[in-house]
Symmetry: C2
Subunit: 892 residues, 2 copies
């Protein structure tokens, strides 16, 4: 006997999405928990597969089955399919195990024809509505089920409207609509070579076949391929056939939508709107203003009570806030759909806590339903969602959302101005073509940064993110004239001192001051994070480069510092001249002297950081960037020299600088003379840094501070590089400790950010006591994509063309970078069991990447302070998912 | 019973290097094949291990064994160790299974003391010689066996010399030397706290212990560690104790060296020199002029006959040309050492052929003894080895040996001048700070290229190598003044028109015209290559970008083209303006028009290449470099603009160009908008190239030419990139073929030069029909080293410090890049069995890399035409080694 091919909503297994599709299973489920769903049935995905295995023909006997189930709907509704008195109209929808674009759309009002439409007029008392439904059905059916193209219908409808002097669709009366029905049928014939079928049974069979056929449509195939949806995940589509109900059958009818709780605040109050004598579209279209659901309590108390009951049933069943659609037809309440409610981050936190306390959710369930990425919006100042109600927002440009949060201030074009005005307490936005370490004091003074060049990992973006300041980068819409101190964006001309607002979360640039709201680590947020902390296996550290940032990170839950970038200390305004001296020195003695003057400054920084992080590990990375990054650009210097010459002034200092810049010039600086390569060629630099670290640690220890320094070497590709530097570190550390008479328990480790470090991780682990993945550079090396170039030049096209699903610099690339990381972890721990492995790249705060790190068995992630709460949550969720998977494996 | 700890040369197993060390085994072997070797014995490596396992003490009973073997020497020589009449003197040498720096040096004349020295004076009749030997022995023994430092001895010797008014060591007479002996003994005592031992038995035991101890010396340990010499390869050192013989015992004594064949020509004639009444050092020191070995036939006919016999025995035994040392002591011939002879590339080829024909070597043995790297010197013009006899060579600078071969010519500073003068038939050397595609016509006109900037993979180097022209790059010793048309190198000032000679094999720059000799693919060379072709499994193709180069490659044995770089075609002088038009075009239509004008030119190139390579595969890589490479630099343009402004001229054209250059600017161009990324963002470019390829192939086919085009995509990192371009290629190819009415069987494949391509090779192999490793870029991505920056900035230090053994851009890095290649081959063939995999990076012609490619199972290597013969030979050797290894595995 063939398997059962169709199930009434009362009999289908609501858990079997594979057989019934997601939509069908949901309709069965709602029906079976006692909600009043318009009756209907599901044709199985297996029937769809039979359709293909029999050469794209409906399986024998399917139509007979369908007729049987139709009769079941007829008996439940008292209506007759194809009847002329009380006709049964149905909707036909596709529905695979996973939702999928490219599949057939809904066909509504199937069953209408020239005779049943008259019955519909009688039932609704609304001729215009009935004929509008009819012309829409003809159009939709011709298009979707028979494959006619849209254009002809639109053109014909426009012609009819103009003939009837109707501007809007709604101005066209029943007569015009009748004309449209006739005309549409004609178009159907000429376009598809087939007559529009008047027989509802033929309509239904045709629609079912069209649904099946859409499974193998080009877009659907591509979507499945791209998203790696394999047949074991979804194979074939089901077909849902359901009786139509109408909320516009008179004053005892209505239609509406409701959330089971307030989606803005999360409060446990019913939240919805309805319109009496209306259909669903009317609520959406906003032609009439809907009423609050609480009006219903007065207007339709019985239905309201029923709805309150539905609300409770749904939440108990789905354990999630529901967003439902309902229709009251002649006093009878029908539930058409329910889905998980979208809500604000705050609401999600509140409902998680409430629903756990109500006993609806376990703690794990409460934690896993909070989207970490969504929480990011709570961590920065943002445009007040109500702002547009209060001010007119004039958006003039859009760049890359480089560092989240919003800010406003007066435009300044130089870092000096930003610093000066910032010190005076003025709010300013620093606007530059691009920024350099020279501009760092301007970042401190500014509320936010806007650049016309550079990607999300440009200097401006990275520094802004680390400082937690909003930044819009690579905003090519604006043209900056530094000298005239003005920028243009399209028509708009913005002068120095004019106020603008930037939104680093969206990349938008707006004129004037747009109201903002403050970030919040609310009590709800703290509570959920505490729960998460109890569940996660991954540690969470922060990337922080100074004592304030370290303290901030600790307050947000960081369990140490995973990356302290010592070059940030070089960039500070009081250091840069010393760094210049060091680079420009012409003798070893001069260089040594400059380095010696840097040392006490670095030492002080470390001491402050150790204080902030007392008792916790602090990973300090020795100098990484190439030295020329600390100098002005060739172009800048050439311009300066020509200007000085024109003014008859002395150019020798600038020319000396230019010569040095040329000597240090690199074709591909990202792959150049930097990191450990600097440490090997200029050992005095690393020696100074190690001395500063260990001296600070000894001093801290004497002050009673519990210190755990971890010294980390960047850009390592070869085991011997690491060995060379380890000797240097040991020598200097021993010297300092014996001089100080204190012993500091420090660790020595390596960044794993060069591909070769992954491939030879077993060799590195012989020397390194810990690994920390630098996934920005690792991604770069794996793809051969320069971040700065890629994000401006070709990544947008790669994403829009579907060559990449996401930017691999934002979310770890599991198939490429992830496999190299896996190799590194395995090889490293093969040699040194228990090797501590972390990640300190930008990915460390991105939820999907955190999950990957958990699966790879890392010990911790490290990210900027503002993302620490997000990482804590994501780490807990990774653990919960892993446990669920293990449980599933055990159960199977 | 303990294992035997020492072996007479007559009894030791000459094959057991592990037990007896290399040197000891050789002495045993020579003795046993009947050569008259001064008698001696070997103490085993096992005894050395016992020394360590018993806490650095000589094993019990060892000294008794040694005494026994000493008696055996005494009986063979009739001399007595420590005797005062006819004293036996011995040498003591270390000797592990593999030669190893840092081990103990030789101690000669052990056995000398105040009484035996008198006997030596009597025997030699040369008091000065005897005391010189004695003072050297005391010094050497104190230093090597007792650990005294060199300095004190040198200082004392200088004092004694000045006291005796001797400037040279040789001017110091016996009296002075006697003083030195006494003084050296005193120094020994004060420096080491030990008296110099007069007892020869104590001398010997101390020397043996010193040899054992040197096995664990710091340098030796480091050497073994760095070279990955594991205990199964060499464990402990042996000690060789051998009777001294003297060639300076009178006119019936002599000493000499000889090659069994002429090492310059390979001719089968005896070749050597000797000095009567002299010791080895005299031959080396060149104080007296040695005589030809054929003089010996007259002077010492009996010994000469013996030597001719030794010559034959050695060659028959070692199956290799031998370089031997001999001594005649009082008419008796002793063979002291023999080793494989070093010889010229030409000699090596000739001897291989001769020795095979003489039945000494199998063909495989004849092939494997030819060093492929050495053959490279035959493939280019080179400085006449006799040149210095004819002209005075003034070397003024040294840069990187960027493209091998030598050339001379008049200095020019612009590509235009090089072209113009080259066309007039003049020989010129193009001298530039660095070169750009703009300069390409200058390369064609010049004999060679000299640049002051850029590494071995700079534009100048790569283009020069591809053209087979000599190039010295990154020659920082010279300072170029373009405008004055002059360069300086130290004191030397070289003006335009002055003649210089450059040697791209060594990096040297010389003044004037140094005589050169022509390259030769001699008959011997061809014959050996034919043998090699019969043995190799790897195919050998060439990298060639035009019909002439293709024809040249074919004549050198290339079996197809593995890499045709289409951007080289863009760079030709007649194309560059069109390429500029294309890049500068402001509308799609303009760009399309420029591209259309390029197409017929490209098509013609392909047609010519197909003709040259009829019947063989031609792999064509679509455009790879970023577009800005075809434009002048920002700096150049800024300078031009300032100069035009100063001259009051119009700058608008240059300014337009500058704007475009700025738009195209990339921070890291090597990782930028290039390769397949260009193909995806500007599909019209790749479409044009595919059209040109397929049209040319169709036309060729109509002309009866057998064509096998293979279209290859550069820089692929993601399967979808390849899929996208494959669709484009298929579409265009189908169009062209249907228009032409011809069907061309082309293949579609990918470069594997991005790390991610290796990691996801299984995905790529679903789309690609072949892989070709681009190991330049792959090495770059694996190490995160920019080639151009690394070779100038830190690689020299890395190599001198031992962090890297070789430059990974010259020889494939097996541990890093090699493992990724292995992964790619396995994953690729896992999905597409029999997938064709080649390599077209610069490594494809480097012998060690060729061997690695063979082991990885690649199908072919591709290299520049001039390296094709080298690759053919290296491929055969890889096969021979593999077979030997397999045989070994079977036998074990």
């Amino acid at each position: 006997m063939a398997a059962k091919r169709a199930y009434d909503f009362e009999e289908g297994d609501g858990k079997n999405k594979k057989l019934l599709g997601g939509k069908g299973a949901g309709l069965c489920e709602m029906t079976q928990i006692g909600l009043n769903v318009p009756p209907g049935f599901v044709i199985t995905t297996e029937a769809c597969l039979e359709y293909y295995s029999s050469g794209r023909r409906l399986p024998d006997g399917l139509i007979e089955d369908v007729e049987g189930h139709l009769r079941s709907i007829e008996s439940k509704t008292g209506k007759v399919f194809g009847g002329t008195d009380n006709p049964l109209l149905v909707s036909v929808r596709s529905g695979a195990a996973m939702s999928m674009p490219g599949m057939m759309d809904t066909i509504l009002n199937l069953g209408l024809n020239d005779s049943s439409v008259i019955a519909l007029v009688a039932k609704t008392g609304n001729e215009r509505f009935a004929y509008d439904a009819y012309r829409r059905f003809v159009q939709m059916f011709s298009k979707i089920a028979l494959g006619a193209s849209e254009e002809k219908f639109s053109a014909a409808f426009d012609t009819i409207k103009s003939r009837h002097a109707a501007k809007l669709d709604t101005e066209l009366g029943a007569d015009g609509l009748k004309e449209a029905v006739a005309e549409f049928k004609r178009i159907c014939r000429t376009e598809t070579g087939r007559d529009f079928p008047d027989d509802p049974h033929v309509q239904l069979a045709t629609a079912i076949e069209a649904v099946f056929s859409s499974w193998m449509g080009k877009r659907a195939i591509e979507y499945r391929r791209f998203n790696k949806i394999t047949p074991d995940m979804a194979n074939g589509t089901a077909v849902n056939v359901q009786a139509m109900v109408f909320g516009n059958m008179g004053d005892d009818s209505a239609t509406g939508v409701a959330f089971t709780r307030d989606p803005a605040t999360g409060e446990n109050v019913f939240f919805g709107e309805y319109l009496a004598n209306a259909q669903g579209e009317d609520v959406v279209a906003g032609v009439r203003t809907p009423k609050s659901i609480y009006e219903m309590e007065k207007e339709f108390p019985q239905t309201f009570a029923e709805l309150m009951d539905v609300r409770q049933k749904l939440e108990r069943h789905y354990k999630e806030v529901q967003d439902m659609e309902f229709t009251m037809e002649k006093g009878r309440l029908f539930i058409l759909q329910t889905r998980n409610g979208k809500m604000t981050a705050a609401a999600r936190l509140k409902t998680s806590i409430d629903m756990h306390e109500e006993g609806l959710l376990t703690k794990e369930e409460a934690v896993i339903r909070v989207d970490p990425a969504q929480l990011e919006q709570l961590m920065h100042k943002r445009i007040d969602p109500e702002a547009k109600k209060r001010v007119k927002i004039v958006k003039v440009a859009e760049g890359l959302p480089a560092s989240p949060g919003a800010a406003y201030g007066a435009v300044v074009f130089t870092a000096d101005d930003a610093q000066r005005l910032g010190n005076e307490g003025k709010k300013v936005i620093l606007v530059r073509e691009e920024t350099k370490p020279d501009d760092i004091h301007g970042f401190i003074g500014a509320q936010g940064i806007l650049t016309s060049r550079g990607g999300k990992t440009s200097h401006a973006a990275v520094v802004a993110r680390a400082m937690g300041k909003p930044c819009v980068s690579g905003c090519e819409d604006i043209r900056i004239d530094d000298r005239a101190k003005v920028f243009t964006a399209g028509e708009a001309v913005v002068k120095e001192g004019d106020t603008i607002t930037i939104d680093g979360t969206t990349g938008e640039v707006m004129l004037g001051e747009v109201p903002l709201v403050d970030p919040e680590l609310s009590d709800d947020f703290r509570r959920v994070l505490e729960w998460a902390d109890g569940m996660r296996r991954l540690g969470v550290r922060a990337n922080a480069d100074n004592p304030d940032a370290a303290a901030k990170a600790r307050s947000l839950g960081a369990e140490g510092i995973g990356l302290c970038r010592t070059e940030r200390m070089f960039n500070a305004a009081d250091r840069l001249p010393l760094v210049h001296d060091m680079i420009l020195s012409e003798s070893d003695a001069d260089r040594k002297a400059a380095i010696d003057r840097l040392e006490p400054l670095q030492k002080n920084d470390f001491l402050g950081i150790f204080e902030s992080m007392a008792g916790l590990p602090v990973t300090i990375r020795l100098l990484d960037p190439p030295l020329h990054e600390f100098l002005p650009s060739t172009e800048q210097l050439l311009q300066d020299i020509y200007e000085l010459k024109a003014a008859g002034k002395d150019t020798s200092a600038k020319e000396k600088l230019l010569r040095k810049v040329k000597v240090l010039f690199e074709v591909n600086p990202m792959l150049g003379h930097r990191g450990v390569r600097l440490g090997i060629t200029y050992p005095e630099l690393y020696e100074m840094q190690v001395r500063a670290i260990i001296e600070a640690a000894c001093d801290a220890k004497k002050l009673g501070i519990d210190v755990h320094p971890e010294i980390m070497i960047p850009q390592v590709a070869i085991e011997k590089e690491l060995e060379n530097i380890k000797k240097l570190v040991e020598r200097v550390a021993t010297e300092v400790m014996s001089r100080s008479g204190t012993n500091v328990d420090y660790k020595f480790g390596t960044m794993v950010e060069v591909v070769r470090a992954c491939v030879t991780a077993d060799e590195l682990a012989e020397v390194a006591e810990f690994f920390s993945f630098g996934t920005n550079d690792l991604t770069q090396g794996t793809y051969s994509f320069s971040r700065e170039d890629a994000e401006n030049k070709f990544l947008p096209k790669y994403i829009s063309e579907g060559i990449l699903k996401v930017n691999p610099f934002e979310q770890l690339d599991e198939d490429g970078v992830g496999r190299l990381m896996e190799m590194a972890v395995q090889k490293g721990r093969g040699v040194r069991p228990g090797l501590k492995v972390g990640i300190c790249g930008e990915h460390g705060g991105e939820p999907n990447s955190v999950e990957l790190c958990h699966r790879l068995g890392l010990d911790y992630v490290s990210c900027s302070a503002f993302r620490v709460p997000i990482a804590r949550l994501a780490a807990a969720q990774a653990r919960i998912k892993e446990d669920a998977k293990k449980k599933f494996a055990r159960d199977v």
